[in-house]
Amino acid sequence: MSTHPQTALIPYLRDELNEDERTRVADHLRGCAECRESAESLAALSAELARQMERMPVPEWMSYRAQLYRKLAARGQTAERRWWHPGLAWGSIATAGVAVAALILVLTIRSGPSTPSVDQLAVENEMAGADIGLLRNYPVVEHLELLEDYDVIEHLDELPPVAKQDDALRS
């Protein structure tokens, strides 16, 4: 092996490598005193570290657990309160009320007199133009039979009764 398998040394000592890797590292260690020394010192340091950790000061476990269970209980209560606490419920209702009032206000303001949109103006202009065209041709329209018929229908009640009309015709 051309390079030192430094990062594989600890996994090798802990038997974590697959067979190929293990064979490669073992072959290398047979011929490399530097890596053998490195592997031994790293393993010794790791073991010493574990021993020293055991000596590190630790809390008094009874009070540690008591504090932990207090935290856990407080957390459970907070989670419950989140859903049914009356104060919170009234707060939510008040917030919802304010939101609805704001929505109504916005809708009211928007539905008041407003400047017509460009499209609306264009349609209105077109309709006005069509009206003007119709008026320009009024003399022609005036003599249409349809309009005369309308005129007759409109004055039907002013015509004399049919019998009177026949007498008048006989005489």
Binding site: I10, E16, L42, A50, R55, R65, L68
Partner: protein, 192 residues
């Protein structure tokens, strides 16, 4: 009655078996505290964050699917909480570089282990623990976590990779560099 495995206890804790949860806490409290202590660098934060990890364990025990070992899963929770905690408190630590919860006289003291070896040896041990503590603080966060998980917890490189959310090769590099740095620092300390 045979002792239940961590995995079985976790499944019971998921079903809100408080006794099973208590057993898990008792089994892992010391190692969880020490790992948090090594990552965060002080007792008060380690106490707080390791307790939070147990709370998280209780609340999410149902998510443990048994595909990994319990210890890998739990350490992942703990390490993530430590990293989150460091991230959250980074800005004010930078603002107040002299503030250290360990120096707070109001902070409740932490008792040394009960098996007292005698005054002289105790002083020597305390000194070597303090030196190791200092050396650990000078490692990068990932190196510190990797070294601790390897040495104290006996986790494999693959399990450490799962905890750190990195590749196995990267985890091996963290372990190697962390141990090499520690060796160098402790050697320098001896020659002084």
């Amino acid at each position: 009655m045979p002792e239940l495995s961590d995995e079985e206890l976790c499944r019971k804790a998921a079903a809100r078996d408080r006794g099973a949860f208590d057993q898990l806490v008792e089994r892992h409290q010391a190692r969880a505290f020490r790992l948090a202590r090594a990552v965060l660098g002080n007792d008060a934060d380690a106490l707080d964050v390791s307790q939070d990890a147990f709370i998280r364990l209780y609340e999410s025990a149902h998510q443990f699917d048994g595909r990994s070992r319990f210890s890998t899963w739990f350490h992942r929770i703990l390490v993530n909480l430590c990293i989150d905690y460091q991230r959250r408190t980074k800005w004010w630590r930078r603002m107040l570089p002299l503030a250290s919860p360990d120096e707070d006289p109001q902070e409740p003291g932490i008792d040394p282990p009960s098996d007292k070896p005698g005054p002289d040896l105790e002083v020597m041990q305390r000194e070597s623990v303090a030196k190791l503590d200092e050396a650990l603080k000078r490692l990068s966060s990932n190196q510190r976590i990797a070294v601790m998980l390897q040495a104290q917890e006996g986790l494999s490189s693959r399990e450490i990779a799962a905890v750190l959310n990195c590749s196995e090769n990267t985890a091996r590099v963290h372990i190697f560099r962390g141990l090499t740095q520690l060796k160098k620092m402790l050697r320098e300390d001896q020659t002084r």
